[in-house]
């Protein structure tokens, strides 16, 4: 009966899926806290017309920082896990800071902080759920 195959295969599939998920999650969880322990945000400006040259370069896809003609770092923030913070702002020849760039940089920093907290919450929940599912799948 076709139904017999379904009834015996489904628990096996489920168990295999849970174990696969557990294995994949284990790889992520192990170094997660180290990965998120320091958060860095860099805000760049790029000369008009240079976007494609800088952003579509396949050799630089995985680079942590941007570089190239017309690229300039405009603001930098580093936040440790205990929230100790370093901000570095560029000033022009008159000692003035560009308020518009600062506003955009702050928006990016806020987004990154929210993302870090959400990821920590999600990984904690996922690890707890996966451990529970593994117990039940035995």
């Amino acid at each position: 009966m076709p139904g017999d195959n379904v009834s015996t295969d489904k628990p096996k599939d489920l168990k295999a899926s849970v174990q696969k998920f557990a294995s994949d999650l284990a790889a992520k969880v192990e170094n997660f806290v180290t990965d998120i322990s320091e958060l860095e945000v860099r805000t760049y400006t790029i000369t008009d017309g240079q976007f494609a040259t800088v952003l579509d370069d396949p050799n630089k896809k995985n680079d942590k920082t941007l570089s190239g003609a017309g690229v300039q770092l405009r603001a930098y923030t580093r936040i440790a896990f205990d929230s100790d913070t370093i901000v570095c702002l560029p000033v022009n020849n008159s000692g003035q800071i560009d308020g518009a760039v600062w506003d955009m940089h702050q928006a990016a920093v806020n987004q990154a902080l929210q993302s870090r907290a959400a990821m920590l919450r999600t990984i904690g929940d996922a690890a707890a759920s996966a451990l529970d599912a593994l117990k039940k799948s035995r």
Partner: protein, 120 residues
């Protein structure tokens, strides 16, 4: 065994998370916020330096001290030294750092609790 791998990974995760969260709930903790300014063309080399202070001028510094326990943290002292030119930026960064510290403490404790761990 995948379940053994997950247990080991979760144990490592819990250990690392406890190491990070524990200092936040120890008796005395502090948050330090430094705001530097550098000439625009030099910013890239400044931020990659091991000590930013060598190449950039610190224009704002705040240190906030806390007394903390499991029920929360109480501010016990604050040191401020901020130039007028960076005051709005520095102030918003201080507020952001304090809010982030509280949020990470809550989320970190929540993550540990969901895994059955109580720090301290």
């Amino acid at each position: 065994m995948p379940d053994k791998d997950l247990r080991q990974a979760v144990a490592a995760f819990v250990g690392q998370l406890k190491d990070r969260v524990q200092p936040l709930i120890d008796d005395v903790t502090s948050v330090e916020i430094s705001t530097y300014a550098a000439a625009a063309p030099l910013l890239e080399s400044v931020v990659t330096a091991e000590d930013i202070g060598i190449f950039a001028q610190r224009q704002g510094y705040t240190r906030v001290a806390f007394q903390c326990d499991m029920s929360g943290c109480l501010e016990t002292g604050r040191t401020d030294d901020v130039d007028a030119s960076v005051r709005p930026m520095h102030s918003s960064t201080v507020a952001q750092a304090l809010a982030e510290r509280e949020k990470l403490l809550t989320v970190g404790l929540g993550a540990l609790a969901s895994l059955g761990v109580k720090p301290g």
